[in-house]
């Protein structure tokens, strides 16, 4: 028996499905006229005004407890919400991280004061979060981070530098993994998670332009930033364990299978109207569909494990690896389908979406842990390490 034997088909509870029509109606209205190549940015797209509309509907923190401003609904209701956002290409990037990771993290490890301060503001769409993990010399080797928070009378003095931090220039807070004791050679020991108010003096944020011309990730410099005592999340020195638990939330969600879905639907729309459809197009459509269907079931099965309080880190790594492989395959295979034709007559809108995803898709298997890191986690789970 291997770890795979513990994951079985799970049907989303029908009461959770009740929310889908309402979400869909909202998205059809709000996104009318937004071109597909913009929609394709989806959870990488940033629109604070849109996020506040989502918050007004009560859909940020929908599965968080009502006492902290959440919706008190099930994790599967949230899953459906995300699925709809992604499949309509809603620009949900502003609140995505706070909703997915930061608020659940604070709920689990935060002090009562931290919860009261941050979670209701997150749910209102007023407070956006970013995650400070990578550093120039610590990418996949995350334990090698050098950014340091040194305890002093007022709390912690923060120095160092983070990089590839998504939306740091448009967020109010960062939850950073930093060293609070020891040195890089202590590896997983001596790391802590802290919450940084990005408006504090001593912080410089520099957006980095990506190959498509977008600026979503940033370099963040900390120069003697004074943090208060309540900046610490959870236990000092327990940062590695806390971060690892958080990654299961990050790796198995629908955003690991649907990053290219806008292109797939747009291509299908074009193919359905075209004359003399090549058999190779049906074959491609079926190949993509028959890969997507089990992946969606895997993601839902893992969600059911998370709901039961388990931490299926290895299974989540499996889903992310397979899912991002498919997300990357979709633009390359669709490009091949289109340009295998003698005289394609492709609508410009379809080409714009294709171009965007072709350029950005290498990121899919980088964000949230590279292939190599994930395969290492899987190998460990299989008993090879």
């Amino acid at each position: 028996m291997t770890i795979l034997d513990s994951i079985n088909l799970f049907a989303i509870p029908s009461e959770a499905e009740e929310i889908r029509p309402e979400i869909r109606k909202f998205l059809i209205e709000e996104l009318a006229g937004v071109p597909e190549n913009m929609r394709a940015r989806s959870w990488g797209g940033y629109d604070a005004e849109f996020s506040r509309k989502v918050a007004d509907k009560g859909w940020i923190g929908i599965a968080l407890p009502k006492e902290y401003g959440g919706g008190g609904r099930s994790a599967f209701t949230r899953y459906i919400l995300l699925e709809e956002f992604l499949n309509f290409g809603a620009p949900v990037g502003a609140h995505w991280i706070a909703d997915r990771q930061s608020a659940p993290l604070l709920l689990k490890y935060g002090t009562e004061e931290q919860k009261r301060l941050h979670i209701p503001a997150i749910c209102r769409g007023e407070s956006f979060f970013c995650i400070g993990m990578s550093e120039p010399e610590a990418g996949s080797d995350l334990a090698g981070i050098k950014t340091r928070a040194v305890g002093n009378d007022s709390g912690y003095l923060l120095n160092g530098r983070k990089i590839w931090t998504t939306n740091a220039h448009r967020c109010q807070y960062m939850i950073a993994l930093v060293r609070t004791s020891g040195t890089s050679s202590d590896r997983h020991k001596g790391l802590s998670q802290i919450i940084v108010d990005l408006s504090l003096p001593g912080i410089t944020i520099r957006p980095i332009k990506d190959l498509s011309g977008d600026s979503h990730f940033c370099e963040v410099f900390f120069d003697n930033v004074q943090l208060s005592h309540n900046a610490l999340i959870g236990q000092e020195g327990e940062g590695w364990q806390q971060v690892t638990a958080e990654l299961s939330l990050e790796r198995s969600g629908p955003e690991r299978l649907f990053s290219s879905i806008i292109l797939l639907d747009q291509w299908l729309g074009w193919v359905r109207t075209s004359q003399n459809l090549p058999a190779s197009s049906a074959l491609l459509a079926g190949k993509l569909f028959t890969r997507l269907a089990p992946l969606r079931s895997m993601s839902i099965a893992i969600q059911s494990k998370l709901t039961r309080g388990e931490s299926p880190a290895v299974e989540a790594a499996l889903v992310k690896e397979l899912g991002t492989t498919l997300e990357q395959y979709i633009p390359s295979a669709i490009a091949d389908d289109i340009f295998s034709r003698e005289d394609p007559h492709v609508p410009g809108e379809l080409l714009l979406t294709l171009q965007y995803l072709t350029e950005i898709s290498p990121a899919f298997s980088l964000r949230g842990g590279t292939r190599e890191i994930l395969r290492g986690i899987i190998a460990r789970g299989l008993g090879l390490r």
Partner: protein, 338 residues
């Protein structure tokens, strides 16, 4: 799908009675071994699982027997149980008598001289075949057919003379809407493939942890770990696809569920076979090691009732015919179906 009484009973029985030695005997043509093994399956009541209770069966659906078939795959079970399950259910539903013993399913071709030709999976060991000939179905004894070797060692081409076909009752079996033999067989083939892939993953992991080269187990090398990680992804996806194919609580899947199951399992089988043999090295292609009992079967199952491309085209046509979001078609396949 592995956590039910039927599956547990099957695991127990197969571990005892369907050993690698028995599988080899049966592949070697030992009919006594085949009869004895089938006797155990009949005694356990497995073969009538899909037959309606009104006709003396267990009245189960695909969802209930998926685990049983997966365990069969995990033990390289050599007899046509899946076909027998479906064949008996079809005959019973149509009010026809069921022949005793194993029953293979095949699509026949009527030749000019009135004889019938068919490729029969498991045709060397099955007792009879339920042969579809256009609208008409016939139960034909395999020992009476002229049989010739086909691709897999237990499969054959069979030819029944016109007189034999004329003597057999011509039966009407009306299948639900868009079903055909491929659709009926695909989910059960997929379930067996998923079990067999699980078995070769376990064997390959064990081998990688034991086989020493350069002073350590080969599974300690990142290059090998990477291959095994990717293999496990395919096995995981195949397992889920087989479960989707077998989601129905009746004996019938939808065409799209069948397509997902068989396409994904066939695709995964190639990757799993390749890695399992690569990691095992030369010992893996010997007769002595049991690995080939699974990998040869997986190749045969991949080719049976439509390879991945066959089902990709079917699924693609369904997706083209669907209007609206791909998501909505994805959602439709995970519900109970028929």
């Amino acid at each position: 799908m592995d956590n039910d009484l039927l599956t547990d009973a099957a695991s127990h029985l197969l571990a005892q009675e369907c050993t690698a030695g028995i599988v080899r005997d049966i592949e070697g043509g030992n009919r006594d071994s085949a009869r004895a093994l089938w006797g155990h399956i009949e005694d356990a009541g497995f073969a009538d699982a899909l037959v309606d209770e009104a006709y003396g069966g267990a009245g189960l659906g695909l969802a209930h027997i998926a685990g049983l078939l997966s365990r069969c795959g995990a033990h390289a079970f050599p007899l046509p149980l899946a076909d027998t399950l479906i064949g008996r259910a079809l005959l019973a539903h149509a009010g026809h008598a069921r022949p005793s013993g194993t029953l293979a399913l095949a699509k026949g071709r009527l030749l000019d001289d009135g004889s019938v030709h068919a490729v029969v999976d498991g045709g060397w060991i099955a007792d009879s075949a339920l042969v579809q000939l256009g609208e008409a179905w016939h139960v034909l004894a395999l020992h009476a057919a002229r049989r010739q070797a086909h691709a897999f060692i237990l499969d054959c081409t069979a030819r029944w003379e016109a007189s034999l076909v004329n003597d057999a009752r011509s039966m009407v079996i009306s299948l639900p809407d868009d079903l055909d033999l491929h659709v009926l067989r695909a989910p059960l083939l997929a379930a067996q493939m998923s079990g067999a892939m699980g078995a070769i993953l376990e064997r390959t992991l064990e081998y990688a942890n034991n086989r020493q080269q350069f002073g350590r187990p080969i599974g300690k090398f990142q290059a090998v770990q990477n291959q095994l990680a990717v293999m496990s992804e395919h096995v995981f996806a195949a397992r889920m696809a087989a479960q989707l194919g077998c989601v129905s609580s009746t004996p019938f899947p939808t065409r799209l569920q069948a397509a997902i199951a068989k396409a994904r399992c066939s695709e995964a089988a190639l990757a799993a076979i390749e890695t399992s043999h690569a990691v095992h090295g030369a010992i893996g292609i010997t007769d002595e090691l049991d690995l080939h009992l699974f990998t040869r079967r997986l190749q045969a199952w991949r080719q049976s009732s439509g390879s991945e491309s066959y089902w990709h085209i079917k699924a693609g046509e369904a997706l083209f015919a669907h209007q609206g979001l791909t998501l909505d078609l994805l959602r439709s396949v995970s519900s109970a179906g028929r």
